[in-house]
């Protein structure tokens, strides 16, 4: 291996030692992976989505494997923000791991309270706002499906925290660029995409859905090409930095997202398949850049070459 590469990146207002985070809901509260990954080596740990009060989650089965992926309908089970601060955060603080807290609510009000409570907590470097969960007041659509609702949530969160705000977008919209612009205008500091894609599985023998909740979210290598296209579209639609997530399983995958312009990535479902994946991805990125004579990762990010005649983003076939 040639000389070492500077992997540090700035992602809007935050600075990371490397661009590899672990995705919300796939890495627990960090501690679960401590036997496999020296947590302090990660760019950041994004913890399981936190709500104002504890949530029991959806009825089982909650997971079903699909070809090169899985569908989950955990239903955002979590300990609630209080227990999180008391029982989960201290461990990460002690290990000096940069923490990003993934938050969600069913009403705008809940996002406001969460933002307030999480402000000024040691070790938390940003909030990731999940706007892809059911919004009861808007009739079953999520905040993330509608530019105005999305903007409303982000404005509220921004007004109530001094932390950088990263907004996590759903791919299940007609134009992700539109939503991205809306949350940018509402004050988002960073955009992360994508969340899981609504999906379903059924059992032809029992003739029942394979998930207690019927519908769940698809993740894993199967969705990578969709995630990459979303990131490409969002990068070109907004000025704020974008964090890529969806199906990243290898260093090469991560590099693809960086190439199209993501300033960092999140490693999700593959943590289940290979609990050391996040670490291997960091090492693999460094090796690739070194072997290809890049001194810093910045030299690589966003350098995708589009030729003269290349169409701008258009949906074909």
């Amino acid at each position: 291996m040639k000389k070492s590469v500077d992997l540090s990146v700035t992602v809007g207002p935050i600075r990371l030692q490397n661009p590899v985070m672990v995705a919300s809901g796939t890495f627990g509260y960090g501690r679960e992976f401590a036997d496999f990954v020296p947590l302090e080596k990660l760019g950041a740990v994004i913890v399981k989505g936190i709500s104002l009060t504890p949530r029991p989650g959806n009825p089982p089965p909650r997971i079903v494997e699909t070809t090169a992926g899985l569908i989950n309908s955990i239903g955002l089970e979590n300990v609630g923000v209080e227990v999180f601060l008391k029982e989960k955060l201290p461990y990460l603080q002690k290990r000096s791991v940069p923490v990003i807290v993934n938050i969600f609510g069913e009403r705008v009000e809940e996002y406001r309270e969460l933002a307030e409570i999480l402000d000024n907590q040691e070790g938390i470097i940003a909030l990731e706002v999940n706007i892809s969960c059911p919004n009861v007041s808007a009739g079953g659509l999520h905040f993330g499906a509608d530019p105005e609702s999305a903007a409303k949530v982000i404005e509220t969160v921004k007004e109530n925290t001094s932390l950088p705000v990263m907004v996590k977008l759903s791919p299940q919209v007609t134009s992700i660029a539109l939503i991205a612009r809306a949350v940018e205008e509402a004050g988002a500091d960073i955009i992360s995409c994508i969340n899981t894609i609504p999906a379903m599985a059924v059992d032809i023998y029992t003739r029942k859905p394979r998930l207690g909740n019927v519908v769940g979210g698809l993740s894993g290598p199967a969705i990578k090409p969709i995630a990459l296209r979303c990131v490409f579209e969002v990068v070109r639609a907004v000025k704020i930095p974008v964090v890529g997530v969806g199906g990243i399983a290898t260093p090469e995958d991560a590099l693809e997202f960086l190439l199209v312009g993501a300033r960092a990535v999140q490693v999700g479902s593959v943590n289940f398949t290979n609990p050391r994946a996040s670490l291997e991805i960091i090492e693999g990125i460094a090796r690739f850049l070194s072997e290809n004579n890049f001194a810093t990762i910045e030299e690589y990010i966003g350098t995708l070459q589009l030729s003269e005649g290349d169409p701008t983003i258009q949906t074909v076939r």
Partner: protein, 272 residues
């Protein structure tokens, strides 16, 4: 107890019956920490189809030799691939996962083991452990299956217990009926065990649980559920649990880190 990921070398991978295999693995790191009732997550292949690891209970553990054994039934894509692996190849495993069986009280005179089908895999390790820890206990095995060809050979467990009662749903061997009916039939109400361990399919566990609760028999049950991570990160392995959740709501238990061994009172069996 630290978890390890290692490329385990396959020392043997053979059929025990038409649908069941036994895999012997050189896996020193995992073996060192393993306890009966715990399990490993096996990556059956380096491809992403299948994508998730598969959970398997320890069938035998040899700490000194750094060896673990799995006994698995071929039911789908993953186990089919496992069954084609050759001696000398490696499989990547993560473990040990979950919590093992706890031993019965010192004075447990009679301990029953209730195995349904491939649930036997976890119980063999359990029996072996209790033979060592409670050498004076009288160990009785009830071993049920759909049909006789599903049983694993006697040699793997006959030395571990004093008595074996077979049962099959189709009557092709032993008692004809469920393992619970078999238990009820061979014993009068006055000879209930001091402790009971059970592992098997959900419906069998459910009926057995109702029976032990009714008869106030202390017991431990080894449960299964679909697993994402096997290590407490995804919350995918939830089953309906009796534990109180805030405002009087019952909540879910998580098989991988709160189990897979549970006391029967922890589970909402009626919803399983």
């Amino acid at each position: 107890m630290k978890k390890h990921m290692e490329d385990a070398i396959i020392l043997e991978n053979v059929r025990l019956n038409p649908t069941t295999c036994r895999m012997i693995l050189q896996a020193p790191a995992v073996a060192r920490e393993a306890r009966p009732g715990q399990f490993v997550m096996v990556r059956v292949d380096s491809s992403f189809d299948p994508f998730l690891r598969r959970p398997f209970s320890f069938f035998r553990i040899d700490r000194n030799e750094g060896i673990i054994e799995l006994v698995y039934r071929i039911v789908g894509k993953g186990t089919k691939i496992m069954s084609t692996k050759q001696k000398g190849e490696t499989v990547n495993i993560v473990g040990p996962m979950g919590n093992g069986f706890r031993p019965p009280p010192e004075d447990a005179a009679s301990v029953w083991f209730v195995a349904g089908g491939i649930g036997m895999a976890a119980l063999v390790a359990c029996m072996e452990d209790i033979r060592l820890r409670r050498p004076r206990s009288r160990r009785v095995l009830f071993y049920g299956a759909k049909t006789h060809s599903e049983f694993i050979p006697k040699i793997y467990f006959s030395s571990l217990c004093h008595e074996v009662h077979y049962s099959t749903d189709d009557g092709s061997a032993g008692f004809c009926g469920t393992v619970l009916d078999c238990m009820k039939s061979v014993t009068g109400a006055n000879s209930l065990p001091s402790y009971l361990y059970a592992c098997g399919p959900p419906s069998m566990l459910k009926h057995t649980a109702n029976w032990v609760i009714e008869n106030k028999i202390p017991a431990q049950f080894c449960l299964e559920s679909v697993m994402g991570c096997g290590m407490g990160a995804c919350l995918g392995c939830a089953l309906p649990g009796q534990v109180d959740y805030g405002h009087g709501k019952t909540r879910f238990v998580h098989v991988c880190f709160e189990g897979p061994v549970f006391y029967p009172e922890q589970i909402r069996w009626e919803e399983l």
